[in-house]
């Protein structure tokens, strides 16, 4: 195991890539009660067209398979995995995003048994016609729950307005129709391709003995065999630079309309360093103008175009990226045109030295604060690792940014044809 100490933040991490390709990260935090473990595959809802392992032709699977598969891994011939974790006093969960599927638990006791349970259940699929059929009812209820949530509709609506072809525009859980078409063979095809150890990371942080936990993981993996695997071939359609639809309206029986402005940040593949710089600059600039007290926030707030529900988020990935800015508003049309006007004005704005130093201070302090959470550290680390970036070197990357990086970024950031608006209101 490779041991690295980060003195400035008081953290230690042990790393090892096992023979079968699995990347293992252990971070001891003996002062904590709990341990958090997350077992992640680089496989999400956008990975729909790919060459299955051992084959040579591209296949396309129905919408919602990655999420369906996540549900089904919890069911085994002899029962439900939640119950196994329950017996060990742990709470387990899982989630599927555009680019990842993750299985996780938190436990305050029986850490080694729980780790073994986690690895074994993810590496031991049990899909039958019957269990796949049974799950359709549960997932249909989950989809319908999302159908009634204006926040989720607003999120997906904006993504759909921005992206014309990229599968990020498909609902992560699929639709009631698409999931009905899913078969156990679809699940096995996806499972065998994307759940290979080479495509996965295991990150564990908390209160445990490093040596003994590592030995357990290594022995567990040595006892299983996986066929050799090359790079996974995925296919993504060409995506235009500009948004698909400038204005999308969704009818829902809401009391207060919702409006979101989406910035299509990128639509083509980014290299590692380019990716990180773009991500840091985008998140820091959006925060500077739109966080509470920021210049744009104040303007929107004073004009009564936003309320406490106002929020923003940026997500930059390999071949897609977006920023969403929105919330509840009684005047959606005015909100959208004001946000667009403010965004377009950034081309002529410059960040001052004073603002620049404050932005860095804020980013450093907020990163420290976020590191109070073991979940945050693990999730961020795994996410950046996917891009070949070491999360613990983030502070120095922030320090290295210059004021001209920001000002150059501002000149190029916004184009009118990369802005989309999604409005939710009563028809």
């Amino acid at each position: 195991m490779d041991k690295k100490i980060y003195q400035d933040i008081d953290e230690v991490i042990y790393t090892k890539k096992l023979e079968n390709g699995l990347s293992v990260f252990l971070m001891p935090r003996p002062e904590m009660e709990k341990t958090y473990a997350i077992f992640t595959t680089k496989y999400g809802s956008i990975d729909q067209t790919f060459v299955p392992i051992g084959e040579s032709e591209m296949v396309t699977v129905p919408d919602g398979v990655a999420h369906f598969l996540e549900h089904k891994l919890f069911e085994k011939e002899d029962g439900d995995v939640f119950a196994d974790f329950g017996k060990l006093g742990a709470s387990a969960n899982a989630f599927t995003s555009f680019t990842k599927t993750a299985y996780l638990f938190t436990a305050t006791d029986h850490i080694e048994d729980n780790v073994e349970t986690l690895i074994n259940f993810v590496q031991d699929p049990y899909f039958t016609e019957q269990t796949v059929e049974k799950e359709k009812g549960i997932i249909a209820q989950e989809i319908k729950m999302y159908d009634d949530q204006p926040d989720w509709q607003s999120f997906m609506g904006t993504i759909k307005a921005m992206f014309k072809n990229h599968p990020v525009n498909i609902d992560i859980a699929g639709t009631v129709d698409s999931i009905m078409k899913i078969t156990k063979d679809d699940l096995y095809t996806c499972y065998n391709t994307f759940y290979h150890p080479e495509n996965m990371t295991l990150f564990i942080i908390g209160n445990f003995n490093v040596e003994s936990l590592f030995t357990l993981i290594e022995n567990n993996q040595a006892g299983k065999s996986f066929e050799a695997m090359g790079d996974i071939k995925r296919k993504f359609p060409d995506e235009p630079r500009e948004v698909a639809t400038k204005n999308l309206e969704i009818n829902m029986p809401v009391s207060i309309p919702k409006c979101t402005v989406g910035i299509k940040e990128s639509s083509s593949a980014l290299e590692k360093d380019e990716f990180l710089t773009k991500e840091l600059l985008t998140t820091m600039v959006v925060d500077h103008y739109f966080a509470k007290g920021g210049e744009f926030y104040q303007e929107l707030y004073q004009a009564e175009l936003i309320d406490g529900s106002f929020s923003f988020e940026t997500n930059i990935d390999f071949n897609f990226g977006y920023t969403l800015i929105g919330g509840n508003t009684t005047k959606p049309t005015e909100f959208a045109s004001k946000v667009k006007e403010l965004l377009l004005s950034t081309r002529n704005l410059e960040i001052t030295e004073k603002e620049f130093s404050r932005m860095k201070k804020k980013k450093i302090g907020r990163t420290l604060r976020a590191m109070n959470s073991l979940e945050y550290i693990a999730n961020q680390f795994v996410d950046y690792h996917r891009h070949g970036i070491n999360f613990f070197e983030m502070t120095s990357r922030i320090e290295a940014l210059t004021i001209s990086d920001f000002n150059n970024f501002l000149k190029e950031w916004i184009d009118e044809d990369r802005l989309a608006v999604c409005t939710i209101k009563k028809g």
């Binding site: 006093g89 029986p253 009564e304 404050r358 604060r369 109070n372």
Partner: protein
């Protein structure tokens, strides 16, 4: 086990609680300000923290206040109001990077405390009152928040259930206040209430992080000054209500998924010696994915995506929440009631009970790894006027017997069933 403990001192009109720990890279300050839940004051109490959050004497606008926070390495200031039993609690929270991790080890702790004190005790005033402009703007925001509850169907159904179930009891008061009342509040009204609140509310200060309690105590004592401790005493309002016949309320809205929520009276509160048994009861019944509700409503019958239960510890209530297809209403209701009967009849194994205990203890210990969770854990005890160490809490849960779980179950009564369903079906 070596669990975190709090140290408490009463000084300058506050109860100050220190929770020293090396778990976090920040220092967290939380001020809890408590008053009885009351329909006449609730709307003002909902509005007040948001008005205070906008500006202070030395930072007279949102922008200036925010820039100060950003300068303090992105310190995070938040305010909110919450219902605990029949008390209303306003929380002021400030979280600031622990200076030992800063690039230049800058001294920011005292400045941060100063700012927090100013936020509560030195608000921005115009003509000896709150600025009308700020009050009006915050009224508009609060009005939208009150209206937006309707769009979150789970919260809305829960609010309607409590309204129906606790009609005439203080607990039914809405935590965000009332729209009609809100219209009439002026800056002067709010300022008059503010003066009363800082005088009469019971205030607790919590400090969590890697600190020298003596240094922090000195800083707090210098910065925070109040005339007297107002000890209104714990306002535990256990209601021993006998339910003759459970109420059933069905309402319709244009929605896809129906929300079936059921409220029960547990007749057991946090300070009762039976409370640990109630926690175990809830763990077996609906607290976890391994519980009866999840296993039967979701796993065996595929009726729901979620089906769970939760205990309200100060008032003595238990709630069941589930999201179902509208046509499955009767079936889901019968299964939920059946599970309650199974629990009361003691139809669970020793092993299931021990697993439920382990899960409760697990969540409790997990909460101790969260700075705000720790504060809530200790404050819950403070509210119930029943303070024990975390170790004692765990020991009591471990010691619960099956007989005690059944006995606590006998006291649980269904009070109200609330169904929010689609306009088309059922």
């Amino acid at each position: 086990m070596n669990l975190i403990e709090e140290q408490t001192v009463n000084k300058n009109g506050y109860h100050i609680h220190f929770i020293p720990t090396k778990k976090f890279k920040t220092l967290t300050f939380v001020i809890k300000s408590k008053a009885p839940l009351n329909k006449d004051t609730i709307t003002k109490r909902a509005l007040l923290p948001n008005v205070l959050r906008e500006a202070t004497k030395n930072y007279p606008s949102r922008t200036e206040l925010q820039l100060k926070l950003d300068d303090l390495y992105g310190a995070v200031l938040s305010v909110d109001g919450a219902k605990k039993g029949e008390d209303h609690i306003i929380s002021f929270r400030l979280e600031v990077a622990n200076q030992r991790y800063l690039p230049e080890k800058e001294e920011i702790t005292e400045e941060a405390l100063q700012l927090l004190s100013e936020l509560i005790f030195a608000p921005h005033l115009e003509n000896n009152s709150f600025a009308e402009r700020i009050v009006n703007r915050e009224k508009a925001t609060l009005k939208q928040r009150i209206q937006a509850i309707r769009d979150d169907k789970i919260r809305y159904a829960n609010m309607r259930l409590i309204e129906e179930m606790c009609e005439g009891e203080a607990y039914s008061i809405h935590v965000n206040g009332y729209e009609d009342e809100l219209e009439t509040i002026t800056g002067a009204d709010l300022f008059a209430y503010y003066k009363e609140m800082v005088k009469t509310d019971e205030m607790d200060i919590y400090v969590v992080g890697d600190m020298d309690p003596q240094y922090i105590e000195e800083a707090i004592t210098t910065i925070f000054e109040r005339d007297s401790i107002n000890k209104a005493g714990a306002n535990q309002t256990k209601t021993e209500k006998q339910v003759d016949k459970p109420k059933e309320i069905i309402e319709k809205e244009p929605i896809q998924q129906a929300k079936l929520h059921i409220g029960y009276r547990t007749n057991t509160v946090y300070s009762d010696k039976e409370y640990p048994a109630l926690q175990v009861f809830n763990g077996l019944f609906g607290g976890f994915p391994s519980s009866k509700l999840f296993m039967n409503v979701r796993e065996k019958n595929s009726l729901a995506y979620y089906a769970s239960s939760q205990v309200e510890s100060h008032k003595g209530l238990l709630f069941v929440f589930s999201g179902i297809a509208p046509e499955d209403y009767e079936k889901a209701r019968d299964i939920i009631r059946e599970q309650m009967q199974e629990m009361k009849a003691g139809n669970f194994t020793e092993q299931e009970m021990n697993e439920a205990k382990d899960m409760i203890i697990h969540y409790l210990r997990e909460t101790m790894d969260n700075n705000h969770g720790l504060v809530e854990l200790f404050y819950q005890q403070k509210l119930a006027n029943y303070e024990r160490t975390l170790e004692e809490i765990i020991t009591k849960i471990s010691a619960v017997t099956k007989e005690e779980v059944v006995r606590v179950g006998e006291k649980i009564q269904e009070d109200t069933l609330y169904l929010l369903t689609s306009e088309g079906g059922n």
